[in-house]
Structure formats: structure tokens, C-alpha cells
Subunit: 334 residues, 2 copies
């Protein structure tokens, strides 16, 4: 599992290299990941290597590193923390593989599909504990506390989501509370750590926390849209798992509450049915009833709010990328 | 979820109150657990409360607190760390419920049996992150690092065990490596934290780490014996899951390697068969072939080694209980 032999992570936007100003920093993060995750037991090493290969967009370390550079100071702690947040995110992905039964993630078979549920559960745990352990190698307990707080909220959000499955009366407020926990809390934490460890003044730190939270919310709404209407070929992952599991997301919540009575009743019927083609059956309602447009608009509003927070930073290539990211997270096909 | 209304944890040995000298400390640990685990979402609170009720022997916080008192000094950090190690242990139990498909644990239906796999996975994660977060509330990062190191090894041990399932050639050394990780590392860590935070000199700390490791190994061998030949009514948990899943434990490893050729072949055949009554079929071989006696003897040797480490401590009620515990962990029916 040599990090040098791995392909570079895919760009969020082919054609525009969002990684360039932090390429060396991301490489350092990769080196730390490879070092921390290696294991002397060949069977364990093999499973860990598999996850190492399903490299995604590295959104979370990017946010952390870009924030640090945009605030004017990069430290070794940033690289360590970049590895920590990526491991935590990967742990949740591995466990999501157990939860949603997905067979493909980041264009690779999930651990679940290859080794089964037991290994997935333990591998996720392994990633969690290694992330916390790595965070604790920094001298102060502050980073551990911030990571601990954020992951508490991540798990709470995920747990709420699962316990709310099948609840077709989920409100928009409850949906936002869930995605705020399961996604936005960690992206906010990344920006918090990036800014704090660069020594930025408190008001800048707080503005970047708000930026990170809004980027996370916008990202998750876009992610939920892809699950409803994206193409598997483009995204490289199993789609439609939300509706299969009766997890309501924003376009459906909108339709159920704001749609005309007949469509709303029909959507409710489709969601409750044992039908295996819910995604296809829902599509016309999502388009005509305005559910997709509504969710897309909400994501764009959040992205705009995120962008507005960046005025506290002096102009720089990294600030420009943070700005560009807000567009990219809401206009995705992967 | 009020800790005051919960029944006190069962004694390891009814008739001899091993908890008395640390009763107030254990109550403080319970208060911390109740405070840390409460959640504002009613559905989350309900699941967490269920786990709070499957209170076991509290072996890990006991080791931590007894070690502290036997070393002469109890601090608020000890109570916090007692809650941390219990949460970590409970997280692994909840995830074990996913792994071994057990329906009963600590005399209660497992989270898995009531809420399903998804909730079990997320609840385990919730307990892990809350444990790490709680550890990080202590002022120095040292405790986080020790807990991080120990849980890394716990997960590695569990992962090895799952990846070695079905390997009927598992060696005794490999078995000991697995249980050293999945069980003994955390009991050693408990004694380490207890002694260290009481300000004990380094040689005493190291002796107590060795004590904790040997107690953990002995405990796990005894636990594995119960899974093979214990009674569900007494233990309050599903048994026989190890052989069902072709997880080799010490008595079987002994039979396969040291038993006479015919018995060894028959044991191998039983383990490989799709038969649902493996436990019953194996019993005569385990008794006559000496597998049970061998494992019991190894556990007793480890318990004696653990006891010998305690000579570094001045006589005290807590030292006596630490001594008594070494007997209890190897002569268990629960």
C-alpha cells in the first residue's frame, strides 16, 4: 500500500485543477494516511488497502487545507488533521455501505460487497479509532475535542436518519437537522480546524465555520438529488437507495407538503409501495411538481450564503477555489 | 434515563461485594455515563437508554477504579475515564451483536434484535465517538492517546478474528494475538490509566499493565469456554456463536493440534459441517480430548501471573479485590 503508486484523486471539475495550490499538502495527507493505516496482519492490510483505493473527492481535507492557506498559514498539524477528517469520513462511508446495502462506492465494490457486513463494521471502527488516535498525537487536546464534538453530531444525524426511515411526515426542519449533523457538522469542523490552526482571528474563524456548514448542507442536498435523478454511470455509486429505504429527502418533502393534493397522494403511495422501480415512478412528479427545482434552489441559496462569508479573507488563489467549490458542490454529476 | 432509577450492576460474585470499596466511584461513573449519553432526539434517546440498561459486570471501570484506589489516589479524571472505557466496551458489544447475530446480551434483547443492523452499527459509532469526545474533555491529550492506541488494537484484534473465521489451522499464537488485541489491550489500558492518573511510580504502573493484560487474557479464555460449554440461562446471552461462525478458540485449537488423530479429524469434520448442533456434537471431544481442561489451565496460569504482579502494591481492600478478581474471571458461570 504505497501512496506513490496510487492514482491522483479525481478532480471535482475536470479541466480546472482545484487541487493545484494545495497539491503538495494533499500529498502529505496521503502519506500520513498510508503510514497510519498500514497493518502488520496481511489480511487486515488487504482490506484497509481496498478502502485506500476508493479515493473520492477529498472534499474534507481540501476544505481544511484551503482554509488554512487562505488564512495565510499552513502547519504540520493541518496535514495530520486533513488525514483525520478523511479517515472519519471514510469510516462513515464504509458503515453507510452496511446501512444502504450499496454495492458500489467511488467506482469500486464496497467492502460490504466483497467481505461482508462483519468486516465492514469492524473496518469502519478501525478507521474511526485510528482517526481519533491520530488526532491525539497533536500536542493539545483541543483538536480531539473539536473532532469528538463533530463526530458526535455526525453519528447523531445518521442515527436520526435511520430511526426516521419510513416516516413520510418528516418535516423540512427535521431534514435540515439531520443533514446538518450527518454532513455539515464535519465540513464546518474542517474549516474551523483549518482557520484555527492557522491563527486566524476569531471573527474570521467563525465566518469560515459558517462557510463550511453551508457548503456541507448544499453538498448534501445535491447528493440527495443525485440519488433521486443522477446516473450511476456518472456518479460511480449505487443510486436510488434513499427511496428504496424510505428515507425522505428535500424534493420529496417539498412534494408531500407543497405539491397539489393528487400528486402528493400519488407520491406517498409510490413511496409506501413494495415496488422496486420507485425512482422511475417518482421522476415525473419530481420534475413537474417542482420538487427538484425547489431543492436545487435551496442548495444554490446556501452556496451563495457560503460564498458571502469569504469576504473576510484577502484575495488569494485558495480563496478563489473556496469560492469555486460552492458552485461545484451544487452543480455536480458525481 | 435517570441513573438513580436503574438497578445496581450485578455482582461478579453474589455473596461477596466486590464493589463496596468503590461503590461511590462507580456511581459517579454512572452519573457521567447518563449525562454524556443523553440525547435531545426522543428516538435516539430511546435506543441509547436500551443500551444503558444492559449493564454488565462493569469489569473495565472496576479495574480502572480499583487500580487507582490501590495505588492510593482517586481523581475526577478516573471517573471520567471509567465512563470512557465502559462506553468503548459497550460500543464493541453493540457491534458484536451485529457480527455474531446474538439475540440476547446481558439478559436483554440486543439492539440488533430490536432495531436491526443499521441502528446497531450507528449506535456503536455513537458510543465510540462519545467515548473519545469525553476523553478529550480531560486537559491533556495523553489519555486520548492511550485510549486511541488501545482501541486501535481492539479493532485490529476483532478484524483479525473475523478475517480468520473458517481457518481451521489457526495457531495458538494467532489466537493469543487476537484475544490480546480484542480484550486484553483494553483491560491493560484500564489498569494503566488507573495507576498513571493516581501518580504511581513507573515500575508500579508497568506491573499493573501486565496485571491488566493477563486478567484480560484469562477472562477471554474463560469467556470462550462459556461459549462452548456454558448455559444460556446462567450467562444471560446467546452461546455457541463462535463454533457456528467457525471461530476457533483455545480448546478447539488444542484438540485440532494436540488431540489424537481420529478425534482431531472428527472435530475438523464437525466444525466444517453445516450441522446446527455443533456445540452438542463437540462436547464429548472437548471433555475427553482434554481441550476444556487445557484452556482452563492456561486461564488459571494467567490469573496466577496476574496475581503475582500485585505484590508491588501495599495491602489494601482494593488490592484484595484485584486479587479476588483474578480468581473470579476464570471461575465464571456468567
Amino acid at each position: 500500500m504505497n501512496s506513490v503508486t496510487l492514482a491522483p484523486p479525481p478532480l471535482i471539475a475536470p479541466g480546472l485543477d482545484l487541487y493545484a495550490p494545495i497539491a503538495a499538502d494533499l500529498e502529505e495527507v496521503e502519506r500520513i494516511l498510508a503510514r497510519v493505516l498500514k497493518n502488520k496482519h496481511p489480511r487486515v492490510a488487504e482490506v484497509v488497502a481496498h478502502v485506500q483505493h476508493y479515493r473520492g473527492k477529498r472534499l474534507r481535507p481540501m476544505l481544511l487545507l484551503l482554509t488554512a492557506r487562505a488564512c495565510g498559514r499552513m502547519t504540520p498539524a493541518h496535514h495530520v488533521l486533513g488525514a483525520v477528517v478523511e479517515m472519519i469520513h471514510t469510516a462513515t462511508l464504509v458503515h453507510d455501505g452496511v446501512l444502504d446495502g450499496a454495492r458500489i462506492r467511488r467506482r469500486l465494490a464496497t467492502v460490504n460487497a466483497v467481505w461482508g457486513v462483519q468486516t465492514s463494521v469492524l473496518l469502519g471502527d478501525y478507521l474511526f479509532t485510528h482517526a481519533f488516535h491520530l488526532a491525539s498525537t497533536l500536542d493539545d487536546a483541543h483538536a480531539c475535542r473539536m473532532i469528538g464534538e463533530a463526530t458526535d453530531r455526525v453519528c447523531e444525524g445518521e442515527l436520526c436518519q435511520v430511526l426516521q426511515r419510513g416516516n413520510l411526515d418528516l418535516s423540512e426542519a427535521e431534514y435540515f437537522d439531520i443533514i446538518d449533523g450527518k454532513t455539515a457538522e464535519l465540513t464546518a469542523c474542517c474549516c474551523h480546524l483549518g482557520a484555527l490552526y492557522s491563527g486566524a482571528p476569531p471573527e474570521v474563524v467563525q465566518a469560515l465555520v459558517r462557510y463550511g456548514r453551508r457548503v456541507g448542507l448544499a453538498f448534501q442536498i445535491a447528493d440527495d438529488l443525485l440519488d433521486l435523478v443522477g446516473e450511476e454511470k456518472m456518479t460511480g455509486k449505487s443510486l436510488g437507495t434513499d427511496v428504496e429505504q424510505q428515507k425522505l429527502t428535500l424534493p420529496l418533502i417539498y412534494l408531500l407538503n407543497q405539491g397539489d393534493k393528487a400528486s402528493s397522494a400519488r407520491v406517498r403511495q409510490i413511496l409506501s409501495s413494495p415496488d422496486n422501480h420507485k425512482r422511475e415512478s417518482l421522476r415525473p412528479y419530481l420534475i413537474e411538481g417542482g420538487g427538484l427545482a425547489y431543492a436545487q434552489r435551496r442548495a444554490e441559496e446556501l452556496a451563495a450564503e457560503a460564498r458571502a462569508e469569504l469576504v473576510c479573507l484577502p484575495p488569494s488563489p485558495c480563496r478563489s477555489i473556496l469560492e469555486a467549490l460552492t458552485e461545484r458542490v451544487v452543480h455536480r454529476n458525481t
